[in-house]
Symmetry: D2
């Protein structure tokens, strides 16, 4: 029988995403609701090393539900990668009387957390916080919805100037290994073509697609490119290619960059964060460990951390087809 | 065997919602993709009476994916409620060579469309466009996501002034029969209490909840009220009640009103609209009729219009519980 | 020769406005820059009574430049209106070693502050913080620019639904005594008519204007109404009047309310707040008192508080004419 | 005595800016108000060559006041730079019966327009449309206010992630020759340092400033860099310099790019555009030519085009000082 949990620690790690603060708030208030103590751990794994802990009550998380970023900060820790480092973390937790952890982050966060949990039998639950939506076991990661809206607003602005000047814009959006953001914002932003890591479109088809789009009477075009697209050229090389091989295009590049990670979370991400925080704490209180909470068919479900890390998310092929039809 | 469909009409009816334009665009472009003609019908059912039709090609819907409202306008038609009126509509459609209809709207739109379809054996497919999310057969209606974000941004602004003055705000949001918007924005806006049509909270519990919230150290409070809440008082009577029965509250009311219906659609609503438009047109081309397209488990699915109208959507009880825990 | 100033208190009072936090930040950092101590006084005049003071250094105001509302809160104080109350305030200030005050607020704030200053020879400088832009001695009060953008965004949303349904909307915006917001947002929102306190348009001209607008082919109309317009009817009575006396209008009312006061300040308001805070502190350090800092011809200027209170701002008649021409 | 003006042409040229559409709308409606005909000229100078003209009445400009970009498009024309080309333009105008021109754009637009006007005695008035605010004779160019808000929103988002990770961000904003945007958004975005073309800060001072900021307890920093800053390194070289010469910084770069040019104009820009359009048309009707309309001390004023082009705008030194104090 598992030991009763009286004190829960919470931390964020890896790249931040909108909704992390709302998730922290939910973890803290769910602890308060169940009369458990909650400890905020600063700087991710690094804070486990240094013992940068702080008691949090329901009022500590006032006014953060609508803030981007993470009030608990995030940092990488080389030390935590060694058994010795993790042992230090374990001792810090024990000393502080912390019985269980909620880890908010992505793949890397979950891997570190799982190894730690197995080594020391320490109860942990993960909450998927990343804008990339690349975690198996949840239809939406925290921040994915917000990031998409941020990108679409930027594309709308770029289209204003693109269509005033009859230009072709290559717009780079986040997504090193997955094209979820690119695919959705491409459709929503009315892009003529979308380049994603999951599909090698090939330069020829890109050229053909642009030509077709021009023949159909479009005077300006937008191509959305995921960071990790498979076409084998970076976005500036793409521009050069079109400049050199196609006539009459005025080509520009826009790399949206880090603004995609910030900003007030959308309604969806705030509600999702609130639900995930409740589920994470209550799962720990029920004696569960080494699971990730996720949204599946609009319900809160648990997936073993191991599966969440190893599983692959896949692109919705229907969306690729919708994108093709829309750029008619 | 159904007649081959060569010309498809599309119209919007009932209250407008963000995403309707994106859905029109998708219907038009999917027709173009399949080499079918598309006819825009203006003013909803009224346009069927008056024959306000216009040929639409892929370029006619340029630059509307990010616009709120509906370029085809929406209007009520008394005449369409009579058999005679609907006969006139049928004749107008025949005269124009239109073989099938895509109807974008809510309950009322679907009812009228279904009656018409049955009387004249006319192929129709419905797309659920309403911010209320009160249609059975889809997890999200077009505009629901956008409206939630609009409301949450307004609540964030009101909270700035509420917390500067230690005030209690009652905020009325749309939802005459259903509390979907209220429940989600209440959680996302950090409301202390949420009043919805589906649940009779009772004045006593509201009072108790406000008192508890104050005792817990909160200096300002927000109560989200759906238009159709069951507490038996309108929002101004609620204010008066608190003014008269509770001490030391500085109570204000804000009725968000029609701004909830407008604005550029969110990424989610644009993608949803694009998917629904494709599915609607392709369902007609496959010979289907009297269905509504919907999003179920993140897939496009068909539901008979009759079920869509009669079925009831229900409140997610988990959200009510999350709301309670968050207002700890 | 005035006593050297070593410790400056700052407070906000009256209705809050976006930019107040940025002004507090500027006062605090300008003090730090000049090696003076800065004391935050909570709850406006009320905090002077209760001595709710807090030492603030440059880091205390971190992350507030983009937050609406006021971190120092605002409250009314009956007690401060009496000489005895003000004496208590004076003693609290002396006890805390505070030598001078920066008061951020509107008319009422300045009146109280000036009386206090004269009674006790206490150095004070005012910063005009109100969305109404009704203070003499500055072309812009803090929050005016932000509030206008907030209102215009709301009108844009309402126009989406207005034009989808061919409706007439009366939209009420803040401004009990002055029409600055109404006049500017009316032009920017493309309103057909603007009703302001400074001008008695008369119902007849409103009716005439609406008729002309309809004849010119406009299918939907927006009328912006300042809270304090002189037409002698509130906005719901206006709706009823049109319903009863004009044919074929589908009239709706939207009262924008308190959301106009909140939200992240615009770039303009943040820069203005930063400039005003510097000028306020440096004016005190130069031995000045009983002035308000203001923006005149894009320069920081001082106006005696007495003139700021008694002076009247006037409507730019050119804007009225522009509005007429634009609704052609 | 000048010939009576009956038909006015309007075009946009050079880089587009938010508010250009609102200015076109104002020109068109002011013509309608004075019973003059208005002709829209597409593609800037290029349209003068090709005669791409269109009659515009009050309804032609419906629904564009809140749209970024320019409905009349903008393009460069090599041909217009030759006398022969300009002669062709003159003949096209004469053939179409156009008596006068309103030119909306920046420096380049005004230069071409002025040369043309002098060669053919053709009445012209300029409206300054550019986000850079680099035109003499107006305190604000069209689009400057909007662009600042767009940039500040982006900086707010980047700060979320910067402060979550304790990072240093270099953010590049528009401004090849002038630092107006950089200076204002730097203050409004809470930047630690601002690099502008008008001031050679020098790398040493940048390094010193970053060190001071860190010592003062700041964990994250933002440096705003105008495109044309004088420090002699591009933004990626700046990053490399800090990476190599300063310890313990995690440096990132964000180039905001073309999204700065688009988006719905702010309330300020819409009102300014409306005022400028009225003034431009009425100045032509009064027989004036070769002037630019501008905002000076909140009044519409005329400046000879020649002065507008040759005059230099200067940085407000007060703002530099405010920026220094704020980064205390």
């Amino acid at each position: 029988m598992p030991k009763e949990i009286k004190k829960i620690g919470v931390f964020t790690s890896g790249g931040d995403s909108p909704g992390m603060n709302a998730a922290i708030r939910s973890v803290v208030r769910t602890c308060a609701y169940h009369n458990k103590e909650c400890i905020g751990i600063y700087q991710g794994f690094e804070g486990l090393m240094t013992g940068e802990f702080e008691v949090m009550d329901a009022r500590s998380v006032k006014g953060i539900i609508n803030k981007g970023g993470t009030m608990l900060k995030s940092a990488r820790s080389q030390e935590f990668r060694s058994h010795e480092g993790r042992k230090k973390a374990y001792e810090n937790l024990k000393k502080a009387g912390i019985d269980a952890l909620v880890a908010i982050g992505g793949d890397g966060t979950f891997t570190g957390t799982m190894v730690f949990s197995k080594e020391f039998g320490f109860p942990v639950i993960g909450i998927p916080g990343t804008i990339d939506n690349d975690i198996f076991g949840t239809s939406h990661t925290l921040g994915f919805d917000t990031a998409q809206n941020t990108v679409v607003e930027a594309i709308d602005k770029i289209r204003d100037t693109a269509s005033s000047h009859n230009r072709l814009f290559f717009i780079e959006v986040m997504g090193r290994d997955v094209g979820h953001i690119a695919l959705n914002v491409g459709i929503a932003g009315g892009a003529e073509e979308i380049l994603i890591p999951e599909e090698d479109l090939g330069l020829d088809r890109l050229v053909e697609s642009l030509n077709r789009s021009r023949k159909s009477g479009k005077s300006s075009s937008i191509v959305v490119v995921a960071e990790g697209d498979k076409i084998g050229k970076n976005i500036f090389e793409l521009k050069d290619y079109v400049d050199q091989n196609m006539e009459g295009y005025d080509v520009r590049v826009s790399v949206l960059g880090h603004m995609q990670r910030g900003g007030p979370p959308s309604c969806f991400d705030r509600v999702l964060a609130s639900r995930m925080g409740v589920k994470a704490v209550e799962s720990l209180l029920e004696g569960k460990s080494n699971f990730m909470v996720g949204l599946l068919n609009n319900k809160m479900e648990l997936t073993p951390l191991e599966k969440a890390i190893k599983g692959k998310t896949t692109i919705n092929l229907e969306l690729l087809r919708v994108s093709d039809i829309m750029s008619t």
